[in-house]
Amino acid sequence: MIGAPIQGRSPARMAWDRIKKDRTAKISAITVAFIFLLALASPIFTWILHTTPDQFHPETLDPSFGTNPVGKLGGISAQHWFGVEPRTGRDVFLRFAYGARTSLSIALSATALATLIGVLVGLVSGFFGKTVDLVLTRTMEIILAFPSILFALAVTPVLENLLESWGVPTGNATRIPVMIVVLSMFGWPYIARIVRGQVISLREKEFVEAARSIGASRTHLVFKEILPNLWAPILVTVALNIPTMITSEAALTFLGAGVIDPTSDWGAMLLASVPFYSVDPMYTFIPGFGLFILVLAFNLLGDSVRDALDPRSSR
């Protein structure tokens, strides 16, 4: 039988091929890429529109009712593509674009930090076992049992006051790092648990035994033998963790423990829009829809990545 020559394909290549055939993956990847691009390119729009996300535009508001933008759908016009903010006339499109920056950088930094902690703890816990494992597993369970958003709400002002008492100025320069720390504090156990489980099954595998028998150090065993076999589950967890972080960040900000005005942020935009939902529904719709699309796209993308890497798992 004549056919294409048989090629050896690496697991990564196989996964990539699977993703390329997945239409959902493509659409969601494009959506995510588009929002990233919007976030990265936001300064360009400042230049195109000749204004900044913080610039007030009193001329765009009804002079007798500062809560009402002039024009339809929250003041959408050639100059203000998504309309303007009630009371200030700040450009909603620019705030949306810059808000994507804030929301994404916080969510991604928190995910990165959580992944770093989670992988390290998972490796240590799974590899060493015994008391170390017991202590670390219990810690994870305790953290997972906490209602994270409520706890984050309570912890943020405490951390902030503590920093303030050390002379750190309050404001977004402290708020944002505090948020990243708090979000990752509650995010790492999810990753650590998965890594730990994988490590436990891997550490008894033949190739690890072989390395051990020729006298490889523990560091070598953990980082050179085990870790390279973990990238697939880590990637899947990270992909599914990002949307959770985005929602948590928006929720924290919405509840008042997050990013402070005038810095743009989607959660902050939603919070600011609440009083106006009946007079200017567009202002609530835009950040809400943005969040919805981004989280949905990330979730679908994460699912696709998981399917591609581990085709046996069912949807």
């Binding site: 009712f65 809560t67 009371r87 009946s278 007079v279």
Partner: protein, 572 residues
């Protein structure tokens, strides 16, 4: 966003409270004060009026009450020496526990009030002159009973340095004297106060039975002297008033008593209250709110025929202004540059636009005709040209010999105040300043912003004022009199001005007749804004309160510039 705490309640001598923007007439001595008050046309007895409030009352203790809406409401169970009466839109000062409006033989230094002798508390016991005096005395313990106006303590002569009945039990305040028969009370003041009968409307001049005084806890159940008494009070949740059958309408010149009860429901947020009053469904029909201005939904209801009869629009006494710190901004040209850079338009838009307020060149409102001056600010009529005058601002800044281009702006984290501050920040930046935004917590602003010579002392203070009676004496002395400042505390004189020429004018005003004094105070304000550039008044707020369709008898009270519930009734 609601106007709850009056602007400078915690600061200094002439702090403020509620107000009299609408003119209050002092009835001449010859007028008789008819009791009971004339009935409201169409009003019927019975039912329950519900009051929707965003939060609990700060204080119901008469000595501590200093909030417009509460000052109106607490009259349902608290009588004071004198009080405002509003009938058919006209507000008069009338004797309440007193039987006359007070007499003075020395141009206002000693005041004698006759007392009604047939009044009773809710438990049936008699209201005596000693109770009136005790009410005044306990207000001296403002360390424990904080939050209220300090007029009694400030104005009444205190030769023995009396500190209040809790600090000094058994000691007397010899300058408040009850006649032997207990039918009149005399106040000896430290200076002549011609407007003292207005001051006696405040709660410190209410009867308090000494045996029932529970200090800070008194406000949980103030003993009623009015037509209603407290049946239950769950702080932060609900207050229920029921009829007080010991009250006699024939002794009262200002109170009605139509509903069987008033229920105050606390804790809903601004938007929920707005929506439920607008929708007018179910229980909202018999509801009203006096702490919730219709703000975000205003464009849907203002000038809409359907809501006309339920929406009450009136000028409040609140003036929003900026004080420019002359201690830190020493160069007059820099101050003038700041004045020119203030964008009245974007500041008012942030607060809701021209339906939410009217531009004002002066913190003395137009309605105080004796003192109001129609001067220009930065060379233009601000009501016609509210935009920032950036070219002029830059020109002034260029002229400065001691330029200061970095300004620290202090503002309070409450309602739309951060947005108004941001609006100012923008126009200051456009004029060439660098602005440091200094946000203070809502509950702790006025006192820290008034500290002098401290690190991070603000250069511009975003603040407000509502006067306690409709006269320049209730504004200018409090806001611009540098003589009351100390080296480390500007008190309510946030601009820290203490100019020798204005001091001389104040000294002259102190000893002038009321009319001449008002004129001088008007001169002082004009000089402070135009010549010294130490103050920028931006706008007076407009109130928009709404009531359910089944509530009648509501009217705008000229004494407190609020929607009064004294005459409320439930329509059949």
């Amino acid at each position: 966003m609601s106007l709850k705490k009056k602007a400078l309640a915690v600061v200094g001598a002439l702090a403020l409270a509620s107000t009299a923007l609408l003119s209050v007439n002092t009835a001449s001595a010859a007028t008789t004060f008819t009791t009971p008050v004339a009935p409201i046309k169409g009003a019927v007895k019975g039912g329950t009026v519900t009051i929707l409030a965003q939060g609990d009352f700060e204080h119901l203790d008469p000595a501590r009450n200093y909030v417009g809406g509460t000052l109106d409401f607490y009259r349902l169970f608290t009588r004071s020496l004198t009080q405002y009466r509003t009938v058919n839109g006209k507000t008069d000062l009338v004797p309440d526990v007193a039987a006359d409006l007070g007499t003075t033989k020395d141009a206002g230094k000693t005041w004698v009030f006759k007392l009604r002798t047939n009044l009773k508390y809710e438990d049936g016991s008699k209201i005596t002159c000693a109770d009136m005096k005790y009410g005044v005395m306990r207000s001296y313990n403002d360390d424990i009973l904080d939050g209220g106006p300090t007029y009694a303590k400030d104005f009444i002569d205190n030769p023995t340095n009396y500190k209040g009945p809790y600090t000094e039990p058994g000691k007397d305040l010899p300058t408040v004297i009850c006649s032997p028969k207990g039918d009149s009370i005399t106040f000896k003041l430290s200076v002549a106060i011609p407007y003292f009968p207005y001051v006696t409307t405040f709660g410190a001049f209410s009867p308090i039975p000494k045996a029932k005084d529970t200090k800070q806890n008194y406000e949980l159940h103030p003993i009623s002297s009015g037509p209603y008494k407290i049946k239950s009070y769950e702080r932060g949740k609900q207050l229920v008033l029921v009829r007080n059958n010991q009250w006699d309408a024939k002794t009262d010149p200002l109170r009605w008593n139509y509903p069987d009860s008033y229920v105050v429901k606390m804790g809903a947020d601004q938007n929920v209250i707005e929506q439920s009053l607008i929708s007018d469904s179910g229980a909202a029909k018999t509801s009203v709110s006096f702490d919730t201005n219709i703000i975000t939904n205003l464009s849907k209801v203002l000038n809409v025929a359907k809501y006309k009869s339920r929406l009450f629009n009136f000028d409040s006494a609140y003036n929003r202004y900026y004080a420019i710190n002359v201690d830190t901004v020493k160069d007059i040209n820099v101050r003038k540059a700041i004045q020119c850079a203030v964008d009245f338009k974007s500041i008012l838009l942030a607060a809701g636009g021209t339906s939410a307020g009217s531009y004002a060149n002066s913190t003395i409102p137009k309605s105080i005709k004796a003192a109001y001056r129609n001067f220009n600010v930065c060379g233009r009529d601000v009501s016609k040209h509210p935009e920032a005058q950036l070219d002029q601002a830059k020109a002034f800044l260029a002229k400065a010999t001691n330029p200061k281009t970095t300004l620290r702006l202090a503002y309070r984290d409450r309602g739309v105040e951060p947005l108004r501050a941001a609006a100012l920040e923008q126009s200051l930046k456009a004029a060439g300043f660098t602005v440091i935004m200094d946000k203070y917590p809502s509950s702790d602003f006025y006192a820290p912003a008034a500290k002098r010579g401290v690190p991070n002392e603000p250069d511009i203070i975003q603040t407000s004022w509502a006067f306690d009676w409709a006269a320049a004496s209730g504004i200018v002395y409090a806001l611009f009199d540098g003589r009351s400042m100390t080296a480390d505390d500007a008190k309510s004189n946030q601009s820290r001005g203490n100019f020798p020429d204005l001091q001389a004018l104040f000294a002259k005003a102190d000893v002038s007749s009321t009319a001449a004094q008002e004129k001088l105070l008007g001169d002082i304000e004009q000089s402070l804004i135009v010549d010294k550039a130490a103050h920028v008044s931006v706008y007076f707020e407009t109130s928009h309160y709404m009531a359910g369709s089944k509530v009648g008898g509501l009217q705008v009270d000229g004494g407190y510039s609020t929607l009064s519930v004294l005459g409320a009734y439930v329509k059949k």
